[in-house]
Symmetry: C2
Subunit: 327 residues, 2 copies
Amino acid sequence: MKIIVDAFGGDNSPDSVIKGAYLAAKDNIDIILTGKQSIIESKMKEFGLEPNPHITIVNAEDKILGEDEPVKAIKEKKDSSMVVGLRLLADGVGDAFVSAGNTGAVLAGATLIIRRLKGIKRAALATVIPTAKGPAILTDCGSNVVCKPEYYPQFAMMGSAYLEAVIGEKNPKVGLINIGTEETKGTETVLEAYALLKENSNINFGGNCEARDVLKGDFKVMVADGFTGNVILKVIEGVAKEFTGSMKEMFFKNIATKVSALIMKKGLKEFKKKYDYKEHGGAPILGLNKPVIKAHGSSNDYAIYKAIIQADTFAKQGVIEKIQKNI
Amino acid sequence: MKIIVDAFGGDNSPDSVIKGAYLAAKDNIDIILTGKQSIIESKMKEFGLEPNPHITIVNAEDKILGEDEPVKAIKEKKDSSMVVGLRLLADGVGDAFVSAGNTGAVLAGATLIIRRLKGIKRAALATVIPTAKGPAILTDCGSNVVCKPEYYPQFAMMGSAYLEAVIGEKNPKVGLINIGTEETKGTETVLEAYALLKENSNINFGGNCEARDVLKGDFKVMVADGFTGNVILKVIEGVAKEFTGSMKEMFFKNIATKVSALIMKKGLKEFKKKYDYKEHGGAPILGLNKPVIKAHGSSNDYAIYKAIIQADTFAKQGVIEKIQKNI
């Protein structure tokens, strides 16, 4: 497998992307870095990184910025690290693509250049969520802010295929994100989606999932429109940040609490790791002809490394073939 | 001020409601308990509670259940503790109403019996949220699952009036819950709501509030449609539960960590209190002719006590007059 990585996407790029690629190269993963070759090479020198047989650079003079209008950027910045990378994927030069850049642009680029699988109505951004009972999938997380009822069963099917293949969860229970557990709750779209999910035999539908149960882990694949999914993801992120901040404050109050913090060190580390997005790689875009992973915009080198590993598994496990079979 | 309290609403009713009313009576608040008198009196005996001059009972033979269809229940169960309580409020026998019962029924009953203020398009459920910078308001939290753009400025105005009057926050900054900070983000409804909020001079609009910033506290009044607001509220609740659960596990691992837990006791207590919904009373329903508070369904006696105190302040501070002035 060969993973194409956008060296100029993300808040900490290209530094974290180059370092993350080197971490993955240690695991014998072949990588193509796209982006301005002279900068990448001078950064490698700066970081004391020797040329590596697992890492190839493909030059791209331009880059897409966070503030760029997605579709316009994809159409006009043809020599950007993102567009060049996506073209390499489309042409079969690599097997998967990773970018921590402009989310809208990755989504637009993936749909325009890689294209959707035949029969898939909308590609969906899926996020792996750490729950009390292991990883779960939430989709859509922002690709489609407004959804028609018929999108939901496809989101559920794609999320299930991904979870089965990449995480190894068999026949995962699907939940529809809603404001109550009763079948009669929600907007008209959600009510219609419920009916369609219920009659779909390709998935293991378990009913409505109240937002308070997202981290509980009973539902392994949770489906929502992109607005709601994105909101859920960001609330989790925000609350986690507030909580760990409060905990830190609590532990640094005085000498006694600092000693406690030392005793708790291992537990605290596990706690932090459990809810750290960096541990869980990026968000796969489901419904495309090829594997694309959107890494978190503020990814550090370790998060990029994890996203590359995830892209490698995504490509190896035949997720796309499974989705295709179920359409 | 006299607060009417639905003795047969909520998972722990009537026990927690009776006990909560007695706590409030200690603060010299006059209370009318509605519900089956014989049961209330026998419960009082069971709890060793003497008749109290601050507490009156108004008999209601029936009660609305959690699974009842809201509008139907309000129309048909005329002698339920909830409907009797709302009628007492409408008739001016009391100054505010508190119920921990069926949310849909409280909303339907409030709209049908208390009625909306003239000019208010929709009543909205508002929740006080503990943030890093003090209490903030999120509204709507589930009253209107689908919203028209013109509802949002009213939600913002009502939330601002409540926060100013009850919490004492002057000219609170209003944020529109969205999936990005840019003005161009969101659904069509949200985009139109943005424009209306921006041009409204009655409020202090500060732009989009990303869901990750809800607990940060920069925005004091956050507006959303009822579906999104409800989802946010429940995610916060769920994540808080997961986190405190993980922390507990961490602290009970071995003797050393248990000693740490003892040292941290005070800090942990403060931490728990900060994010405990029971501390923050119930959710005011804004836009009605009289003050109505929906307490959390799983309220214990302390939470009921807090909701009664809140109802008392709601009635005393002239929130409704302020809203009326701004319509």
